[in-house]
Symmetry: C2
Subunit: 197 residues, 2 copies
């Protein structure tokens, strides 16, 4: 048996990633030392630098995970066989739910982009752009069909909605009065109501 699971059942790389995610979200990237991460994961630096090239790499992995997940989900909803209004609504609500369910990832995502190395930053931006454009395409589709108002450029509409998603990690508290689904429904409502012709 390889050492990858000693003591605990989960493999070392995943334990490191989980520890890093939590600590980055709690204290921020710069405030979290590599030493803290390896201690939280129950290993030493040797292990970390065996699996990851750098501290920066660890952060990049968090981003890659989030991006992959969100893009997959968006594609599913956007490609469904439904009227465009429903597809947009579902996608808009879903991103809220999954963001709340991974609030740690979200706060890292929006607060720590500039800590990535320039090339990784560029890569992440490119993927984010793809995501944004898929979403924008939905809005434009509805506008062409005449079911959405064309008063506001689709780009701005998308940024408006993602602003609120971005903002969730600032104010949402799991012990608050609203469930993730309720918040999602409200925010999707606001979006769709703003788009009424």
């Amino acid at each position: 048996m390889p050492r990858t699971t000693d003591g605990d059942g989960t493999p070392v790389p995943q334990r490191l990633l989980a520890a890093a995610t939590r600590l980055f979200a709690e204290q921020g990237y710069d405030r979290t030392s590599v030493q803290e991460i390896v201690e939280a994961a129950g290993v030493t630096k040797g292990a970390l630098y065996h699996y990851f090239g750098s501290k920066d790499d660890l952060l990049h992995e968090v981003y890659a995970r989030v991006l992959r997940l969100q893009q997959e989900r968006l594609d599913t909803f956007a490609d469904a066989d439904e009227p465009v209004a429903k597809r947009l609504r579902d996608a808009a609500a879903d991103v809220v739910v999954t963001t709340i369910e991974n609030l740690d990832d979200a706060s890292i995502f929006f607060r720590s982009m500039h800590h990535l190395s320039p090339e990784k930053n560029k890569q992440v931006r490119a993927e984010r752009r793809r995501y944004h454009e898929r979403f924008r395409a939905l809005v434009e589709e509805g506008q062409k069909e005449g079911v959405f108002s064309t008063e506001t450029p689709a780009d701005l509409v998308v940024d408006y909605h993602f602003g609120s998603v971005h903002h969730l990690s600032t104010w949402y508290r799991p012990d608050g009065p609203l469930t993730p689904q309720q918040v999602a429904d409200h925010l999707a409502d606001l979006l769709l109501r703003a788009l009424r012709p």
Copy 2:
């Protein structure tokens, strides 16, 4: 003549604050060394620690400035002698314009809260809360009057809008196609349209 203006016309404390603001926005708080700040301001550490108690203090000053400005402007718009819909619209658009005009402050504001010392953080949160509540009161007033939809709780509406304001520093580029005022009009439109009963 005191040395406070040697070489340049602006006093040293303001030069330090301006340099710190720019650098914090560009590189983040932790990534900016005190040495960099004093070099950018054309002074040395002695000067900085003469006027400010700590690096943290410098950050706090940025926050204080932004909070004071925004609260003043909100109060002006909210207390105007106009129908509630117009007051909300004006306030919502104004915060967008002033945020864009001070994008550096804005990106620091939303990205670096957790770098403040716990007590200063608490203070800033308290002031932000006051701001939020003044804004929420406007929404509630309109809802009671029946000119705004009551489907979404006022708190959520406010967070929805401020999400988009928060988000501005991520996507807005001064060399883009839209002027600050145009963006503000669009975002205020979206808010008001979402609130139509």
